[in-house]
């Protein structure tokens, strides 16, 4: 008698198990000028610490958003690839989530965002290792902010301590504020009623934020356009950020 081994066939269907986003962003790389206004605006809004020269040299800087650029060709035919603001893509099927042993990196069903619960985080850094976009930053120290710099802190945003992972939240404090306001007035949030700090600052209006589940919103219209694509789409992460190709 022979025993037939029944090994179930492995099939990963990421697209089905993930969740489509509720909030989304469209970033037009054709008009992004790499000016870094978004980076500064994000740092000011979200109490992101600066780490100093030595630590930033070690790659420990805490930017929640950064602009990437790469080179193609050789001088004089050299071209810089379009500036590519890189931030948490708020994946619908996020690689960072299943690896967190402390459930600090979790998916919010109601907002369809990737949350980072700072007081659950034990600093394993598994999530950052697993993030294909490299957008998570870790508090390697309690970075010093001498008085009176802390006067500038945004009281709506927690200040993180050493040993805690952090990342872009799509300015969830602004989302909640707008939702509370709309709820108290018994209405839905209107498109463009509020926006994230990066989109608000962007002098070129290259960053547009809004409800991606509303086909009529500005961000949905942009994301549907022929230039739209997702970063590392082939990984099946279902990013909520759509990039618009340059040129």
């Amino acid at each position: 008698m022979t025993t037939e081994l029944k090994i179930p066939e492995f099939s990963a269907n990421f697209a089905e198990s993930g969740q489509q986003g509720k909030w989304g962003m469209a970033i037009d790389m054709d008009i992004c000028t790499g000016c870094q206004a978004c980076v500064a605006a994000c740092a000011m809004e979200n109490n992101v610490p600066f780490v100093g020269e030595a630590d930033s040299g070690y790659g420990r800087s805490m930017h929640w958003i950064r602009t990437e650029r790469f080179w193609e060709g050789e001088f004089p035919e050299i071209k810089m690839t379009p500036y590519q603001p890189m931030l948490c893509q708020q994946c619908g099927h996020a690689p960072c989530e299943p690896v967190c042993p402390a459930f600090a990196t979790v998916h919010s069903q109601s907002e369809a965002l990737n949350l980072q619960v700072y007081n659950r985080c034990v600093g394993t850094r598994y999530c950052a290792n697993n993030c294909p976009y490299q957008v998570r930053s870790f508090n390697w120290r309690d970075f010093e902010r001498p008085e009176p710099l802390p006067n500038q802190f945004n009281p709506d945003v927690t200040v993180r301590r050493r040993g805690v992972m952090e990342k872009c939240t799509f300015c969830i404090q602004r989302i909640h504020r707008a939702e509370d306001q709309a709820k108290s007035e018994g209405r839905e949030i209107a498109d463009g009623e509020f926006t994230t700090a990066c989109a608000q600052a962007c002098p070129a209006d290259a960053i547009v934020f809004g409800r991606i589940d509303d086909p009529e919103s500005a961000v949905s219209k942009l994301a549907r356009g022929s230039r739209g694509f997702h970063m590392l789409e082939e990984l099946g992460t279902l990013p909520s950020v759509t990039y618009l190709k340059a040129g």
């Binding site: 008009i31 206004a37 980076v39 500064a40 000011m44 790659g59 008085e147 006067n151 009281p155 209006d205």
Partner: protein, 728 residues
């Protein structure tokens, strides 16, 4: 209660259980992040948990962008753009965002002080009555001819007050200067417009409606004139208002941030920008047919191709492209004007617009409107005038020098000898908010408020098609024992009595500002109207200024093409084998180095942070035997600096570029002793408009054998590549 009442202390007091206290005492240093003020210290206009927003004007440069600052319980929390403001329409640049790190900078000047000996940093605090008496004494007892005022490019209300004051006592008119004005070559722009169109004015470039922009060195996406307004124009051009996607062609020896957004970057030989403009003009004129205009008649395209390194075929292609566009626009600026032939370069580039009918056409060149309460074009002092001023200081004719809003010891070329010249001045009084290099060479420092604690106004010079006066008001009460310079001068004038008191009979800064803006109450076409000055002032604060609702651009007149434009060969000072190409750091600007978050914002093109660097092409670096992070010595005719090598793949092989913004020897802990200052290399060569020819230099590069690890963001991206370094 103490000022710093920590959350932990609060919990300690609030909890009665000793066990709780013991556990909490074991906690880490979290408590130091949380400070609470007693409720009794709360300003009366704040509600708990609710933000108050104030409109004001950004002071990080002189462009005059409108801000709305979010405050919470008397603290400034976040800078946002003023949506109604014609310059920035709700947007801000990176420096505007970081202005809060200036406001709450730990190294601000906190009290008025007297320095025991210049440069000693031995300051003894004074009270403001004594400080005012010092100013009053200086104004009253110095021969008026021996009083001099050196002012920055912002704010304008203080410049107006000082102008009135100087006139009243018969002192020379105040001099204005700023490093950005120097790098922008504002005098050159004004003079080129005057010589072509018969009227000195700031040109206005309607980029948003253009479909083809040729930028000759103008770094308009970085710091040039009004970067937020230009970025909006660029974005609209790219989105293609009616013409389809607009094209940007940029001529610059190095790929700057602006050049990196260009569809075509031409790494032109430094100093040949004007020649190339002439060649393009000739080819475009031929392509358009008709008789060849005088401006482009005597142009030898072949010779220009040889000099500029742009092939004749390429010039032909560019000329035809320029001629065929619907709304072509040519912009002169930046280092292209900072050559001995810079004025002629500006003329040649502006003439291109005339050739294609771009004067007064949508998407073309206009003359910017004068700001409200402005009667004629004004510009900061050019380098020739600054050199005269320094000579005057050296001669000992100036007994008392007042300095506000500018840091000449850092910003002027070292070779000019400003610091030395100060030794011949009996009394130097600085009104610096930050302990900058110039304040360190002053006898007295009477700190002005930070811009966000200040009243004022700023005339919009370049960023708006509407005539606009941007208004400033304090968004928080002063954090330190500082006082508005306007108030100090007014109090000093009152106590000096005589003509001074008569000329400036204002009880404070606000009353002075009202005496100026009262002229606008009766103006029509305003963004708001008010029947009298008090209501007007309230609106002026609420809306963040006053501007016309209609465009007031004017069409340049005159026969711009009728005169021969002779662009001579650019002269280069020094003997070295490399061209030198200094540029203003797009992140730090002229005065951002003391803001820690700006230091940690990566430079857009190199991603470098926290220091200065020199950009050298990898092939050149190999020939020189230097690598990334090697420290090299740059030697010019006028001086030397040391800086870290950054191998930059998008720069000419014969050119070395270096950012301006670092290299402070004072200016607070985040700026001091960091990087080096290219102004130490600058000579005194000027162009036809008297602007500094800072790009007309040749330099040598010498090895030092030292290494310095340059912090840069890009290492972080290739986590498995070079980022980890050899040792991993």
């Amino acid at each position: 209660m103490t000022d710093n009442f920590s959350r932990r202390d609060f919990l300690k007091l609030a909890s009665v259980g000793a066990a709780t206290t013991a556990i909490l005492t074991g906690c880490g240093p979290a408590s130091r992040y949380v400070t609470r003020e007693p409720y009794t210290k709360m300003p009366e206009y704040t509600y708990n948990g609710q933000s108050t927003y104030y409109a004001t004007t950004c002071r990080e440069c002189a462009a005059g962008c409108g801000l709305v600052v979010r405050t919470m319980q008397g603290r400034a929390i976040k800078v946002e753009g003023n949506k109604n403001h014609p310059v920035n329409l709700g947007k801000t640049c990176v420096r505007g965002q970081a202005t809060l790190h200036g406001l709450y900078n730990p190294d601000r000047v906190q009290d008025p002080a007297k320095q025991a000996k210049r440069g000693s940093r031995d300051f003894s605090s004074m009270d403001w009555d004594a400080a005012t008496a010092v100013v009053a004494d200086a104004l009253k007892n110095t021969d008026p001819a021996g009083v001099a005022f050196l002012m920055g490019m912002a704010p304008d209300h203080l410049f107006d007050l000082v102008s009135d004051l100087a006139k009243a006592i018969g002192a020379p008119a105040p001099i204005r200067f700023g490093a950005l004005g120097m790098f922008e070559a504002r005098a050159t722009l004004g003079k080129a417009v005057e010589s072509l169109f018969g009227q000195a004015a700031m040109p206005f470039f309607d980029m948003g409606k253009s479909d083809l922009v040729f930028s000759f060195g103008a770094n308009f996406l970085e710091t040039w004139l009004s970067p937020v307004a230009f970025t909006r124009g660029f974005a609209n051009m790219r989105r293609g208002g009616g013409h389809g996607r607009g094209t940007l062609v940029h001529f610059e020896p190095r790929m700057s941030q602006t050049a990196s957004k260009a569809d075509l970057w031409i790494p032109i030989t430094p100093g040949t920008e004007g020649l190339v403009a002439l060649a393009i003009g000739r080819i475009a004129a031929e392509a358009r047919g008709g008789s060849l205009p005088t401006a482009f008649a005597d142009v030898d395209v072949e010779a220009i191709a040889k000099a500029s390194g742009v092939s004749a075929e390429k010039l032909d292609e560019l000329g035809k492209l320029f001629a065929s566009a619907n709304a072509a626009l040519a912009i002169p600026g930046g280092a292209a004007l900072a050559h001995s032939n810079g004025l002629e370069t500006a003329e040649a580039v502006l003439a291109l617009n005339a050739l294609v009918g771009g004067l007064g056409r949508a998407g073309g060149v206009f003359l910017a409107p004068l700001a409200p309460m402005q009667t004629e074009f004004s510009r900061p002092a050019n380098m020739a005038e600054m050199a005269d001023f320094v000579e005057k200081l050296k001669s000992g004719k100036v007994k008392t020098l007042f300095i506000h809003g500018v840091n000449p010891v850092f910003e002027l070329p070292k070779s000019l000898g400003f610091e030395d010249a100060l030794k011949s001045v009996q009394t130097v009084i600085s009104f610096a908010t930050f302990p900058d290099e110039t304040a360190m060479q002053a006898d007295y420092v009477f700190p002005d408020h930070h811009g966000l604690e200040s009243w004022g106004y700023q005339r919009v010079a370049a960023g708006s098609s509407q005539s606009a006066l941007s208004g400033a008001q304090p968004v928080v009460s002063p954090y330190y024992n500082t006082r508005a310079t306007a108030d100090v001068l007014l109090a000093a004038a009152a106590s000096a009595g005589g003509v001074l008191a008569q000329a400036l009979p204002f009880k404070d800064e606000v009353e002075f500002i009202q005496s100026k803006i009262v002229a606008l109450v009766s103006e029509s076409d305003g963004y708001f109207n008010a029947p009298e000055i008090n209501t007007f002032t309230a609106y002026f604060q609420q809306y963040g200024g006053w501007w016309k609702t209609v465009d007031e651009l004017s069409t340049p007149s005159g026969d711009a093409l009728g005169k021969t434009i002779k662009v001579g060969e650019a002269k280069f000072a020094g003997e070295g084998e490399f061209y030198f190409h200094p540029f203003v750091s797009p992140v730090l600007g002229e005065a951002g180095a003391n803001k820690p978050w700006l230091q940690e914002i990566p430079d857009p093109t190199t991603t470098a942070m926290w220091s200065s660097w020199v950009e050298i092409h990898p092939k050149t670096a190999e020939e020189l035997g230097v690598d990334n992070d090697d420290v090299v010595r740059i030697v010019s005719e006028a001086g030397t600096v040391e800086a870290v090598v950054y191998k930059y793949p998008a720069i000419r092989l014969d050119t070395i570029a270096m950012p301006f913004g670092q290299g402070h020897t004072a200016y607070g802990r985040y700026a001091e002793g960091r990087g080096s200052n290219p102004a130490d290399l600058f000579g005194e060569q000027v162009n036809g408009a008297g602007d500094l020819a800072f790009a007309g230099m040749r330099i040598k590069v010498e090895k030092t054998g030292k290494k310095y690890p340059l912090s840069r963001l890009e290492s972080r991206m290739g986590v498995y590549g070079e980022a980890l370094g050899e040792e991993h």
